[in-house]
Each structure stands twice: as C-alpha cells, then as structure tokens.
Symmetry: C2
Subunit: 256 residues, 2 copies
DNA sequence: GTACGTTGCG
DNA sequence: CGCAACGTAC
C-alpha cells in the first residue's frame, strides 16, 4: 500500500499537475495540504474522475487539507485538531482507511520568529502532541503525515547556518519533532535513508530547485505498530521540475 | 489586401489566441486595441516571429493600440490623437502602409451615461472628426479602423430597447457616426451586407455568445478614394468561440 | 516566484 | 466574466 503526502500550494491552480502525478504514481492514499480553496470549491469531480474518493476541509485563500483514497473507504474521524475551539484554520483532518488512522496535517509555518505566528505554531504543536500521545497510548496503527513545516536536523537543509533563526529550524520545533520520535513515532524517510540528504521543498525564488537548495519539511511518521510494515519510502523529486509545479514535491511510503 | 481589426482585451493574456488567428487568417494588416500593457511589455518578439512588423502605443493596465503588417513597411504618422495635450490615454495610432493612411482607434466606451466619461467620449469624437475631416479634405486614401464603441443602428444590436441609455447607443454618438458617413466615409460591413445583422462583440457575462446576444462595435470605414476597391468584408465570429477568447471578434476587409 | 483576493474597468 | 494591478502570504 502506497501512501503519499503532497503540499499542492493551491489545489485548483495545481489540478493538471496533481492529476498527472496521481496517474503516473498511482498512490493508494494521498494527503494534500494548502488547498487554498473554500470547502465548496474543492475539485471533487475531477478527483473522483481520476478514481479517488476524497474528504477535505477547505478554507478561503489559505490552508486546507484533504485525504484521497483509491479503492478504499475513507472514514472521517476529525476535521479539526482538537483542543482549541477558537482556532479556525483548516490544518488537520483525520480518517480511518484500511484499519489505519491517517492524520493529515499542515503545521503552521511560524515565521517570522519571534512573534505571534511562532507562538501559534508552538501552541498548535502542543495540541498536536496531545492527540498523538493518545494514539500511542491506545496502541493504534497510525500515521502522522503532511507538511510539518519542521526541518528535523542539519542533514535536512542545504545550508543550516542560514536557517538558525527561521521558524522552520528553531530549536523549539526541532525538539518537538525529536520528542515525537522518542514517543515511538518513526520518520519513514530516515528509516529507509539514515544518512542521505533528502529534500521535499525548494523555494520558487532564486532558482532554488536548479541549485538543489532545498529543505525537508514533509514527513510520514509511523506508530510503533506500523513501523515493521515499512517497505520503502521516497520523494518524487522530478515532479518539482514540472511546469507550474508546487514548491513541494510528493513524498511517499510503501507498507506491506 | 486583407486588413483587419481586433480588440484583443489584453495582448499578453491573449497571445496564444492572437497568434493562432494570425496564422489561420493571414491578414496583411492588423489593428489591435486594448493591449492593456505598458509600452515595454508589448510581445514584439512573438509578433515578429509570426512574420509581422509592428508599431504600438502602450499604457499600463488599460487601452493601448497597435498596427501590425506582414510584408509591408509601416510608417508611423501619429501615436496620439491630435488636439489635446492633456489626454494621456493610448487610444490612437496612425500609419502609412502601402500608400494608405491607416487610422487605428480605440474610442472611449463612455459608460456610465450621463457623466464625465461620456463627456470625454464626446470630446474625443470631436477631436477625431477634426482629424478625419482633414483626411477627407486632403483626398487621401484612408481607413478609419478599430473599436469605435458605437452601435451605429438598431440593426446592429440584439435588443435595441435595452440599450437606449447606454453610452454605446446614445443618439449623440450614433449621430456622430452618421456624420462620418455623410462626409464620405463608407462602413465596409454595411456596404457588403446592407441588411444583415452582424455582430463583433458578445459580452462575457450571461453566456451572451451562446445566445448570440451581440452588438456591432468594430468598424472599418473607407475614404471615398478607397471605397471602389472594397472587394469583401466579414467578421471571424468563430474566434469568439475559442477557449480564452476576447469578448470581441476580428473584423476584416479585402481591398483589390 | 507563485497563487489567491480585491479593485478598476468594460 | 475576464484582464491587469496590487497586496499578502509563504
């Protein structure tokens, strides 16, 4: 079973690219982030026509997350991250697919640091940890998947010294990521490629993709129960080179 | 010799449509209106690559006119309508091509009526008449061609009663058009099709093209000396049906 | 650099 | 409805 995450940066503007990638890559489950469209403008017709069921949580202009599945039923569990009724940003959707809990997230960017946006990021992470700790405690087969907006280690960025005060690389958020791993969550890409430099995002500016000036932001974390089933993982880096592509590349795992 | 006018409604956004039409229709001379680009952003490279020389007068965001010619030299005469130094709108360009004076115009729309925009339209028409009267007096072979933003008669609009107080159909501007004809200018389309209902514009709204709810705004008027050479005239209506088309259709004549 | 919302214009 | 400009977020 192939499970992927893709920050599309606008699902309607990106539809040709998304459909092409779906066709070529044939994932069973896909988590999308940054739909950038209100609930009623999600292109469900075209997604269905491509063979995928979908659930999604939209929002005008920003954020927005979705889960797609081919030949699997999608049982929605949550469409917000529990713990803050005031939070109106569409950044979390959770479903059960093929007996697994799929937690699709678009974690706040948090820039500029310091400031209220960074504070919001830390508060969001705190709420997220409560949810993930529950999943561990319940010993559920679960997957945390999406755009974490966290660069986990120095290996995951082309020039670490440039990023020390960036909200994506601040010690606070890297520590939070490490704590997830300590709790038992396994970083799939690092499990398969322990030492290799792998990126999932290249800025649109300054020809970052041509210079391979990338960072790793999109992660797929497996609960202890699922980790032994990890067969393979990868990034469809070539998609970033397509015309009119997102600034992220699709990232995926294969479970047996 | 085939001479055409086309209000492109944004020359850069419309470039694929324009180039396709140029290739299929092979006009010798083309007058464009509503370039909607500053002087330096006119796509001269692509136009040249399609085989056309060009002169143009651009303006940021609005208006803008151009004259293109294939296998003919373009001798620019004016790039503003004489008579008002204060007028900064790019609505007029005049050139000599193959011994003919080509006056390419984008006459002000003038809506809403009444108001300062309508007043500007009337003032512009007054200045335009001075120019055209000079051309008649000098007995030059001349062509007034472009988007006149004037519906000449009731035959030229799908539902005349809806347009009585529209600046495109007000008696003041229709009278001005009739006066041009009295001075000796010949409406090419009407010369070839005296009684037929012919449109050159269909609004983007309310599926106007599908309902053929059109109007005739784009005109090609010939000076007395040239009128006997008129062989044919027409509107490339099908172009309005293309994907991402302008709200106007190309309009053309053939001179022998 | 790219996408989306808004505004101005027609 | 659709183009172009501008502001904003990333």
């Amino acid at each position: 079973m192939k499970i992927a995450t893709y920050n599309v940066n606008g699902v309607n503007g990106r539809l040709p690219v998304l459909l092409r990638w779906l066709k070529e890559s044939q994932p069973d489950v896909v988590c999308l982030q940054e739909l950038k469209c209100p609930q009623e403008k999600f292109p469900v017709k075209e997604i269905n026509a491509a063979g995928y069921n979908a659930i999604w949580k939209g929002q005008k202009s920003w954020n927005g997350v979705a889960i797609l599945a081919k030949n699997y039923e999608i049982q929605q569990v949550q469409n917000t991250l529990p713990g803050d009724e005031e939070d109106v940003q569409s950044r979390y959707i959770e479903a059960i697919i093929d007996q697994k809990v799929i937690c699709c997230l678009y974690l706040p960017n948090g820039n500029p640091y310091p400031g209220p946006k960074f504070d919001y990021k830390l508060a969001w992470i705190k709420r997220f940890k409560r949810r993930t700790n529950q999943l561990i405690k319940m010993e559920l087969p679960a997957i945390l998947i999406g755009d974490f907006n966290i660069i986990p280690t120095e290996l995951d960025v082309y020039k670490p010294e440039k990023w020390v005060d960036d909200a994506l690389f601040r010690t606070e958020v890297r520590k939070a990521y490490m704590e997830l791993e300590k709790k038992g969550w396994t970083d799939s890409i690092r499990k398969i490629f322990p030492k290799e430099q792998i990126f999932t995002f290249w800025d649109y500016l300054y020809h970052a993709y041509d210079r391979n000036a990338g960072i790793r932001l999109d992660h797929i974390l497996l609960s202890p129960y699922l980790t032994p089933q990890l067969k393979n993982a990868g990034v469809d880096k070539y998609v970033r080179g397509w015309e009119k592509s997102s600034d992220h590349a699709p990232t995926w795992i294969e479970l047996e």
